[in-house]
Symmetry: D2
Subunit: 145 residues, 4 copies
């Protein structure tokens, strides 16, 4: 994992454009802290599609579940603003994987936030983590660079 | 900081009731991960009021700003549900402080999530962290037990 | 439908408590207009449960779908605030029904907003409105007074 | 006001692109009804900027406030989707004006929702509606075609 200081947009295979909505702001007049998680989620959904992690689901009820998340808020964001969300996989385990998120000003290597999300592969019917299919692991690994 | 396993509702001087709204759920049919941050925020605002952290603001434009946050998602939450958010200060620094959050099922010592938030005292006009007023430090310390 | 001026909390068989969250406010520092729709939704979900409208579903994929909505914003709402959402059925048709919403200050006959929602009974698989089961009509009619 | 059936994207001087976020969906797996109000708001903020309605504010505390809103939900919307929000002023009064909203599938004259918003010009400090500045009226009228 590169340090935040030196992380650039070109380090990501996938950059997801995010248009800040006026309604993303809270009573402090800046984008609400919870909304950053929504921006990360927006990038994550595109990432899952990009690496086709769902193509190899072994059961109907197998799906990703967030185990933990961290966010560093580096700059305030105000409407109007265009952002780019860089996302990559930084670790693939047996039953879980870790994604790294960086949020940049669009067209600039200016970081407004970064963070990580640990995601388990869960059998929702059984209510427990299950092994990631080998092909999903390969797909996620492909999203590591 | 006590380990999550042994943390109980009685460990918190402030427990904030949270009623889960149907609209808090996402397309997976459970409370969305970003909404947990909103639950934490709801508790944080009550906490600020409880310890009267704003009573000692030295400037109009001095206000808290979130520097970083962590969340551990321990259980899924579905509507309908009643939760209780325990919150306490676990560290007071010169220009920042750390809050610890635990989200319980209402009336039960069953943890659905926990996390931390590091908050800086910021002069928004100048765009930089400033020292916490001594009385705010005392107020926060009072919220530590 | 009684005029807004004379509508009182006692006119509703169901009053749903709503706790305003700090995060419900927008950059204008008051509760966002879209959030009122979420408050109405919160009341609607309780109402559906209260009249047991789902007990008589004739198909797995039959569910309510909002056709249209109106809202009158009568007062600004700021955090902190406790509200009560009155809800009742004012019309039952063959394939749809109309709900009336009133949002009061908790414990007071002070109206902050009111509105209506027209809801169709939809077969989501077929993508079209279907007749309301007779028992659901009866259940909704029971929620009219 | 043209009927919904015949309203086309070319009827609007301003079309605002809206990217549906995964998180806009609710537990029914489609975009939540309250989120349509947020889409309308997104268009409204662009419209205010476009007609420069704020350039002629006579007081610091003069700002628009929503009086009432209507929405017709014509199609369900699911992630992923790109929309275009058409917005125009259909009436300018002394202290208020009416905006008309149409939400289309991007690049197509397929209406997913439409509605209206009545907006008063309010002196927030005094808590009452005040006359629209003449130049704001002219600006809004310019947004009528």
């Amino acid at each position: 994992m590169a340090s935040a200081c030196s992380t650039l947009r070109k380090d990501f295979g996938l950059l997801v454009p995010i248009t800040v909505r006026w309604g993303d702001m809270d009573a402090y007049g800046h984008v609400n802290n919870a909304t950053f998680s929504t921006y990360f989620e927006t990038a994550r959904m595109k990432f899952f599609e990009w690496v086709r992690v769902f193509d190899y689901k072994e059961g109907e009820r197998h799906a990703p579940a967030i185990v933990s998340a961290t966010i560093n808020y580096r700059q305030q964001v105000h409407y109007p603003a265009e952002l780019e969300a860089g996302i990559r996989c930084i670790k693939v385990g047996t039953k879980s994987f870790t994604l790294e998120h960086f949020l940049f000003r669009a067209g600039a290597d200016e970081i407004v936030a970064d963070g990580t999300t640990v995601i388990a592969w869960v059998d929702y019917a059984a209510g427990k983590a299950v092994p990631l299919p080998e092909q999903s692991k390969d797909a996620l690994s492909a999203g590591m660079h």
